[in-house]
Assembly symmetry: C2
Homo-oligomer: 347 residues x 2
């Protein structure tokens, strides 16, 4: 890479969304006098009688959780999407709207209130992936559901209101915006090259070895060249798989392993339970063939300088362009150099 790009402002292209990101590597020298966050709480009990996600407890909607001992999912008591909404469009001059239907679910990762992904065993994580698979396939087989978004908001700073380890699934009729952007670029590349753009991208990244954080038999975790968030990463299967339902048993284990390894690295950056939103982008469940799809999981963590100082995506970022200070390569360097063992378990 042209040398001065590492120190001078430049823009990078996200080949999946077609969008640009402004990089200002020289700007890390800026002092910070602004808002700081509370560091994440640790030392939680394994069972919290007031937690509405712990086994056997009462939920906010009045139902009771079963005494579950494996990952457990249920319909969100405050779903943003509802099934059985009549299809309808509204057009009045310059106002356009359309009804939307869907199903929102909560996925408890573990009965243990105190755990997080990096502290779970690989086989526990494999169980979570199995539940994600089941949900993707079951929800996706519903005629009215054309897209299944699996995600996790981790940490109060990411809008998560309960530390009990859990994620969510919002499944819906229309294909959402961010996915639409990716579909066009994945498709264009597939049609031109009859190859998955992400297979080619992984190949190139493995050769360059500048942004790879962890690699195992079937998976790679890397900081994409076009990363927006300071420590944004992406987990990809080496083989083109349109969705997680297609994982072989050994791939599923590889996926669980890399999830554990990557989230350990995250916690080790600032010796804190690292907040993020993570999400899996996979083929729409619209009944069409999606040879262009190569599923991937992205992590968008807000922290920049310490456990209490985040990157604000405001002003310029909202009106003009996402912007980052440290480069993807600097972030990768940091994450690569960190221990593979969780900071709380160092000897």
């Amino acid at each position: 890479m042209a040398n001065n790009f590492n120190n001078n402002p430049h823009r990078r292209l996200n080949i999946l969304t077609g969008e640009w990101i402004l990089v200002s590597p020289h700007r890390t020298k800026r002092p910070w006098q602004g808002k700081t966050e509370k560091s994440a709480t640790t030392d939680l009990p394994e069972y919290d009688p007031s937690c509405y996600l712990c086994p056997t407890n009462e939920r906010m909607g009045g139902e009771f959780n079963p005494g579950y001992d494996k990952p457990y999912s249920f319909v969100n008591d405050f779903s943003a999407l509802l099934p059985d909404v009549e299809e309808e469009t509204y057009e009045n001059g310059l106002l356009y709207a359309e009804a939307e239907s869907g199903i929102c679910k909560v996925v408890c990762f573990s009965p243990n209130h105190a755990l997080t992904l990096p502290l779970m065993s690989v086989s526990d994580i494999t169980e979570i992936i199995s539940l994600w698979q089941k949900e993707y396939i079951e929800l996706g087989s519903n005629e009215a559901i054309n897209h299944v978004q699996i995600f996790e908001n981790k940490g109060g700073i990411m809008g998560c209101s309960n530390p009990h380890p859990h994620g969510q699934i919002w499944a819906q009729n229309k294909i959402p915006q961010e996915v639409q952007k990716k579909i066009s670029n994945l498709k264009a590349y597939w049609e031109k090259n009859k190859r998955s753009i992400l297979e080619d991208y992984i190949e190139q990244e493995l050769k360059l070895d500048e942004r790879i954080i962890v690699e195992n038999e079937h998976f790679v975790a890397l900081i994409p060249y076009w990363a927006v968030w300071p420590y944004e990463t992406m987990i990809l299967p080496k083989r083109k798989l349109a969705h997680i339902g297609l994982l072989s048993e050994s791939e599923k284990r590889s996926y669980a392993e890399i999830l554990k390894q990557l989230t350990i690295k995250y916690d080790n950056i600032f010796n804190t339970s690292f907040p993020y939103s993570a999400g899996i982008h996979q083929a729409p469940t619209d009944g069409m063939d999606h040879p262009e799809w190569h599923f991937h999981m992205s992590f968008y963590p807000p922290l920049l300088r310490s456990a209490t100082i985040k990157k604000f995506m405001v002003g310029y970022e909202m009106f003009a362009n996402p912007q980052r200070d440290i480069t993807a390569e600097q972030a990768a360097e940091t994450m690569k150099s960190l221990s593979k063992r969780h900071y709380s378990q160092e000897e």
Copy 2:
């Protein structure tokens, strides 16, 4: 509007960006047990000896501010964009980047450390607009600058590290992403109708009178039909003006008046100094004709339920689609009903 859209989940189209927003009106019933913010500090001194933006004080870069008594601008000591960056592109397989150059400035709105827009006089606000005009024209006349982004981050929650009333300007060579999206839609409408889409939109909104917050001789402040943030608003001149440099004296005054009126409404929602990012989108300064442009100023405030509870744009919003709970009409209803007098000045 079809009645059940007000209570049922639906999507609305942003006619300026071409993007959709998911609306879940029924979801306001959800209880909130998550993160709360500190309420904004008030009772600031008019002059703070430790503030690097107050007149005569030393800045972080070591320079001293003049004893300014009107709005004052200077080059940001920690600019994210730098002038004189050589044009250069980098292409290596699936990696694309290009050098970017620009100028970042800080605009102090007032010498008085304790003021905010709603507490300033209309003629003080007119002076700020005059400085914005001067900067847009001067920066824009630079051959290398094709876009001038004027914005304000207000409040610690919006990444603002100093309460001294100020905004920023990031001027740059490339036209940023959010603006690119708007250009295509403004252009398509102009070419088809030989009318400004926003002139037609204002006409329709004034007729419907469901989302108008304030109106005066030359300006309108409204909650756009496709608003993303709970109390997102937009200020527009009634006449198609490509940029603020074209305002007549009486339009400039109207603009200052509506800025004051709208920001008073904001502070009155939760009786707090209301945080937001605000930005002006106007014609690129690329030397081309922009008959399609109609400048407008948008406010993106993060608060949702109270002075301490914000809307988190995380998880689903990052991976799928922006989502909101209260409808634009409910938010407009609230803002319309609020006093025109600032809560701190009520008798």
